[in-house]
């Protein structure tokens, strides 16, 4: 099993003849991994939510993201042309192949930390997907149009919670501010683009991440202001997710997420 995985990852380096350029595959896998890792994190709240209503809400958010991941993985698998379907890409790739943002693999922490992580990400991805829905790649445009509507709600949901937790009790404000300070160093990575992705953006396929920064800044300023929270200073930013250099958290996440599929390969029910 381990040998097969290594071979699958090595095969990935050489695209099949007639398949799309590796840059596009890598880009779509990045979007897929982002959605799946965050979706998995949110699913960890199922049965553990602070209230019944919020437990259902968090599960819904998780399902939205996992649904988006499926669309991206299916597309990436087709582009790659190696016969890997969504399950093969999601469950049989190891940490060194995953390309998700480091922010999204951070542990849930308390409810404040989960909502802070979500508002930091959603404030980026909602406008990003709105722009991506005009991609010259029709499949990406289609996925982005649907996903964008979902993430608009995610942003709203997370923002309302952060406002209430921030402008709440002494305890809730302190936990939310601490979460903000802890996660802030992972926000820079959302705006990074390597040469391959810049090429895709120039072709109108991907979106220039920097162009989203003003909207992200503005939305966060409004949310943090209403939440009576302080925006942390921009300092050194963590990076490495896109080149599969992950924090210690991803390994544990994937172990739990992938164990069932790997224990029963090819199972259907």
């Amino acid at each position: 099993m381990k040998q097969a995985n290594v071979q699958a990852n090595i095969r990935c380096a050489e695209p099949a003849p007639g398949a799309s350029p590796p840059a596009l595959v890598a880009y779509v896998l990045g979007l897929a991994d982002d959605a799946l890792v965050l979706g998995h994190r949110l699913s960890e709240w199922s049965g553990r939510g602070p209230t019944l209503e919020e437990d259902i809400a968090l599960s819904n958010l998780a399902l939205d993201l996992i649904g988006q991941a499926r669309f991206y993985y299916a597309y990436a698998g087709e582009l790659e042309g190696e016969g890997r379907d969504e399950d093969a890409l999601a469950y049989l790739r190891d940490e060194h192949a995953y390309r998700n943002l480091l922010l999204l693999e951070q542990p849930n922490g308390d409810f404040a930390a989960t909502m802070v992580r979500h508002v930091l990400y959603a404030a980026f991805i909602a406008p990003y997907l709105e722009a991506l829905s005009h991609s010259t790649d029709p499949r990406l445009a289609e996925i982005a149009a649907k996903a964008g509507k979902e993430m608009a709600y995610h942003l709203r949901h997370a923002a309302e919670w952060v406002i209430r937790l921030g402008d709440g009790s002494t305890e809730s404000q302190s936990r939310t501010q601490v979460a903000l300070e802890t996660l802030w160093m992972y926000t820079g990575e959302m705006f990074e683009m390597d040469a391959a992705e810049r090429g895709l953006a120039a072709a109108g396929i991907a979106v220039d991440r920097g162009s989203i920064k003003p909207a992200w800044d503005a939305r966060l300023a409004r949310v943090l202001g209403e939440a009576t929270l302080s925006r942390p200073r921009d300092g050194w930013m963590q990076t490495g997710g896109r080149v599969s250099r992950h924090t210690e958290h991803l390994g544990r996440l994937l172990a739990e997420m992938q164990v069932l599929h790997r224990a029963h390969p090819g199972a259907r029910w």
Binding site: T51, L52, E53, E54, I56, A57, N60, R156, H157, E160, R164
Partner: protein, 95 residues
């Protein structure tokens, strides 16, 4: 440490334009905005809704089931209050 309780809200959803909102359940939430979101997350997962109303439960005054005879029994036997004595022409259609 004192806690502000989370009030109960009654949820009404309308599944198609032109139809009345129907009561579908209740949610606990701290305020109206959160109640609306909770109602959306809990009661509209399967595309049931184009519109949601949330109303604080304490704003609803309900009739006492014990008064049912006094309030509703007399009206059961008053056929002259129903518009059943008109013949509706076929062209008018269903009324």
């Amino acid at each position: 440490m004192s806690e502000t309780p989370m009030p109960l809200w009654e949820v009404f959803i309308r599944n198609r334009s032109g139809m009345p909102h129907k009561h579908c359940g209740s949610v606990h939430a701290a305020d109206a905005t959160m109640a609306l979101q909770a109602a959306r997350d809990v009661y509209t997962r399967r595309g049931e809704s184009v519109s949601i109303w949330v109303v604080p439960s304490r704003a609803i005054t309900a009739s006492d089931p014990g008064d049912k005879d006094q309030l509703f029994e007399p009206t059961a036997s008053k056929p002259y209050r129903h518009p059943t004595f008109y013949t509706v022409p076929d062209d008018v259609g269903h009324m």
